[in-house]
């Protein structure tokens, strides 16, 4: 039972670049410019504008997550129901855009949605009224759904395709209708996939600042934007750290909540980092 030392580089690396950085955030969050202890950075979250930014971020990310779930579930079922071979090809079709650069994908929507963008040009040719989507919260939700949809489809597809068909067939044999079978059998069995899909969409959506930057025209301010501005355009790294700390706690609480409903804790086995 030797070889335990093989974990040493990993443990050292984790300590240096995962644990210590988190303590850096905590340290910055709890001190002021002169280095003395303060709660004021944490309390900044209580300011009306920060509460608003957090609430809007929650609202938009929950909306985007639900929309992703509703769109992705039928697709995952369709894919899982297909014969081997064809399904991998179609699944690939959904993964492919994910491999393209995330910023380029978001920029593409800018191109489509702008006032003189592709969609409005097409509408004009058809003599239909132009639509204003760009620079609204709706555009941000659209950007989130577009970018994170594959993260919902994939885990759902993985879980659904592992469900033993015999179980659903037996349910049908025993007199359950298609709807009942779905609600009583398929849905509960797909829960791990739903949960990992939800976390993989919700966390990046909650904390994004890029999608709002590109599709919100500077008019939609989420908590991610506030934190980014504290650091990059910067007023204060201490306040930024305070807000990050709260955001981090928020993310971990939602993880714990999710894990509660996920007894097997298969969780985020399929990674995803948009």
């Amino acid at each position: 039972m030797r070889r335990r030392w093989l974990a040493a580089p990993f443990l050292l690396w984790s300590a240096a670049f995962i644990i210590i950085p988190i303590f850096m955030i905590i340290w910055f969050a709890l001190t002021d410019q002169s280095g003395s202890f303060t709660w004021s950075n944490i309390l900044e979250m209580g300011l009306a504008d920060n509460i608003k930014a957090l609430a809007l971020a929650l609202l938009l990310s929950i909306a985007a997550t639900l929309i992703c779930l509703v769109i992705a579930y039928p697709i995952a079922m369709i894919l899982a129901g297909k014969k081997n071979g064809r399904n991998t090809m179609i699944a690939m079709l959904f993964i492919l855009p994910m491999w393209m650069n995330f910023l380029l994908r978001t920029m593409a929507w800018q191109t489509l949605l702008e006032k003189n963008g592709v969609i409005n040009t097409i509408l004009r040719v058809l003599h239909l009224p132009a639509v204003t989507i760009i620079n609204t919260p709706g555009a941000v939700i659209l950007g989130m759904v577009y970018n994170f949809l594959p993260f919902m489809i994939l885990p759902l597809y993985t879980v659904l395709s592992k469900i033993d068909r015999e179980i659903t067939y037996s349910a049908r044999d025993l007199g359950a209708g298609p709807f009942q079978t779905f609600v009583k059998i398929t849905l509960p069995l797909s829960k791990p996939g739903m949960i990992s899909g939800i976390t993989m969409v919700f966390v990046p959506a909650l904390t994004t600042f890029v999608i709002t930057d590109l599709l919100g025209g500077g008019k939609v301010q989420l908590i991610g934007n506030t934190i980014e501005q504290e650091f990059i355009q910067g007023s204060s790294w201490h306040v930024g750290s305070g807000l990050s700390l709260i955001l981090m706690i928020f993310v971990f609480i939602s993880m714990v909540l999710v894990a509660k409903y996920d007894p097997q804790s298969t969780g985020t086995a399929i990674g995803g980092r948009p």
């Binding site: 030797r2 335990r4 990993f10 690939m92 650069n101 910023l103 003189n116 890029v210 750290s241 981090m248």
Partner: protein, 621 residues
């Protein structure tokens, strides 16, 4: 088994989702061949954007960095992660659970928090942000993916066989390589692929941990996209899409028979083709990317300048004449630039702040005096500019004027019919959704304060609150808050009115004659940007040479004709052959207009925080 209508419904649904996923990509591919920059007009078929893309040294080196960082970080992460997973298996269950939980942190945590935490660490360790810090960050977030891919395979591995091999006389090493390794190889490979993908696609963590001169594709695209419409980006998307398509095709359609899923086969059919494609890419890029890195026999100079604020040929000329390599970085606003300098994490040699920011940097001791004895060309700068600067830089020891201009309203003459001479038009309900505001604190507040009849250097809380309320009232009318994009948006007729710097206004007019520029009667801002040398500059001597070079009449003329910003250099108006520029009323406004304009002053840290706070309240309203 399915009834027919259901099957059709499934097909339609699948088709719609695929349409949703691919429509934007298709649009970009089409636009990449569009000769016109506009998204609404087809200007004919062209390969021009591709040609420009492959001759863009910045993009090429970003591509290079992306592949290099992804390769190194995923290899290191795979080694550390695999060893870690093997070690973890040998640990007792409780410490193992804790370690796995720690490994999970970067995966579960928000990227923005991971990025910030690493940035704080690097700065605390006094590491200069750059290639190394990005690499460390990428390794850190990649390791968990490897561990979580390898661990399940290890758990499934035939533990008994390992013991049996030992019993039969194999050494630990032999037993490992012959028994365990083949079992976990698929896990290692998929961990590597995941790490590679994550590294290539990462933007947020790189954004926080990168330094000057180091860009990955993601960060480069981000800064390009924020500058305005760049059809080169469509060309880049198309190329990336094709590469990904090719890679996936190779992975999935390599001949694979179910019966022969041996290790060797796996490697041959999947890994080898991918490795080949990547190798070819790296090689191709390396051979093209090398060109620009050759100069530098006399050291380097790290320049931090506004976006699109120099003629690129001037940089090449400087490198050729002096043998100094230029590392060039851009920022969007003074407020973005300031914390990078003040934190000292990044050593820039020469920076180009506006006058009020320079005043702040001088007062905070962030700058070092320039060496006027090696700057004979500074005599070309008009005295009146040095006189203005004397108010915040006594004796002109720090600041050398580079460009100046005014802030005004640029309007589309087809959309705004009636004449106007007041800022009030920006609050006119009639132009709802047709107004572009500056996404910069001082500019936005400055014009509002002027409109209200106050000084744009007001620190009076009542006046500022009044301005904030005005800006909140204006927000529903605003189409977007923008900085550099405003020019392309006005050229593309995306909006009727915009707040703009005079130089941008002139350039817009050159490309779209249907615009006019007004300095409102309430007065406005006159600004001066100039070169300064930060205290922590590593190449101050080269920075002095840079400043002197910028004041040379021929160089200033090149810049003037390229950027079309008003220049303080008195020789330029004699040298330039472009009469339209020379006589532009936008660039060289009447004296009485200028008399109503005010220079920004640095207001001290308290009022600056107030401005920032009020601005946040506007943005999140």
């Amino acid at each position: 088994m399915n009834p027919r209508p259901l099957r059709i419904a499934k097909r339609i649904y699948t088709f719609l989702i695929i349409l949703f996923m691919y429509a934007p990509i298709a649009a970009m591919i089409v636009l990449s061949f569009n000769a016109s920059k506009s998204r609404a007009v087809w200007g004919g078929f062209t390969f021009d954007w591709y040609r420009r893309l492959v001759s863009d040294a910045g993009i090429l080196s970003a591509f290079n960095n992306t592949i290099l960082i992804a390769l190194i970080s995923s290899i290191v992460a795979t080694v550390i992660g695999t060893a870690g997973a093997i070690g973890l298996m040998r640990m007792k269950s409780r410490p193992r659970a804790v370690s796995v939980a720690i490994a999970n942190i970067p995966m579960l945590n928000a990227d923005i928090v991971t990025g910030i935490s690493l940035m704080l660490l690097f700065i605390a360790m006094r590491m200069t942000l750059g290639f190394t810090t990005v690499l460390i960050a990428h390794i850190s977030f990649s390791i968990p993916y490897v561990i979580l891919s390898v661990l399940p395979k290890l758990q499934q591995s035939r533990g008994g066989s390992y013991e049996a091999a030992l019993d039969l006389g194999a050494t630990h090493t032999q037993a490992f390589w012959r028994i365990v390794f083949p079992d976990i190889l698929p896990g290692i490979l998929s961990g590597f692929m995941l790490a590679f993908t994550m590294s290539i696609d990462d933007f947020i963590i790189t954004h926080f941990t990168k330094g000057p001169g180091v860009d990955t594709l993601s960060t480069r695209i981000y800064s390009e996209v924020r500058k305005g419409i760049k059809p080169e980006m469509y060309a880049l998307s198309t190329i990336l899409f094709l590469i990904v398509l090719l890679l996936l095709f190779l992975i999935n359609y390599a001949p694979e028979k179910k019966s022969s899923r041996s290790m060797k086969h796996l490697v041959l059919s999947r890994v080898v083709p991918c490795a080949l494609v990547i190798a070819v890419l790296v090689f191709a890029l390396h051979s093209t990317g090398k060109v620009s890195a050759a100069a530098g026999r006399n050291g380097e100079v790290v320049v931090y300048n506004w976006g699109e604020y120099i003629d690129p040929d001037v940089i090449t000329m400087f490198e050729k004449e002096t043998g100094i390599r230029v590392i060039y970085e851009e920022y969007e606003t003074n407020e973005v630039m300031y914390p990078k300098i003040s934190s000292g994490a990044i050593a820039y040699d020469v920076v180009c702040p506006s006058e009020y920011m320079a005043e702040r940097m001088i007062s905070e001791g962030l700058l070092q005096p320039v060496d006027r004895s090696v700057m004979p060309e500074v005599s070309n700068i008009e005295d009146r500019f040095f006189n203005v600067c004397d108010s915040f830089d006594p004796g002109n020891r720090y600041f050398t004027p580079y460009c100046w201009g005014t802030v005004g309203i640029l309007y589309n003459t087809n959309m705004v019919k009636e004449p106007f001479d007041s800022w009030s038009i920006l609050w006119d309900e009639h132009y709802k959704g047709e107004i572009l505001m500056q996404n910069s604190v001082r500019d936005a507040f400055g014009i509002t304060l002027k409109y209200l009849g106050y000084s744009l250097n007001s620190t009076d809380l009542d006046e500022l609150t009044e301005a904030r309320d005005m800006l909140i009232r204006q927000k529903p009318l605003v189409q977007a808050y923008v900085v550099d994009q405003v020019r392309d948006m006005m050229i593309g007729e995306e909006a009727a009115l915009s707040v703009i710097y005079s130089g941008e206004a002139h350039e817009t007019k050159a490309q779209n004659p249907n615009v006019g520029y007004v300095i409102p009667k309430e007065g406005s801002n006159i600004w001066i940007d100039g070169w300064v040398i930060p205290k922590n500059a590593r190449n101050a001597e080269n920075a002095n040479k840079w400043i002197n070079f910028m004041c040379r009449p021929d160089v200033a003329t090149m810049n003037f004709e390229y950027m079309m910003y008003s220049t303080p250099n008195k020789k330029v108006r004699e040298l330039t052959t472009n009469s339209e520029l020379k006589n532009s009323s936008i660039l060289f406004p009447a004296e009485e207009d200028l008399d109503r304009c005010e220079v920004f002053r640095y207001l001290g840290s308290g009022p600056t925080d107030t401005y920032n706070r009020l601005w946040r309240e506007i943005k999140s309203h």
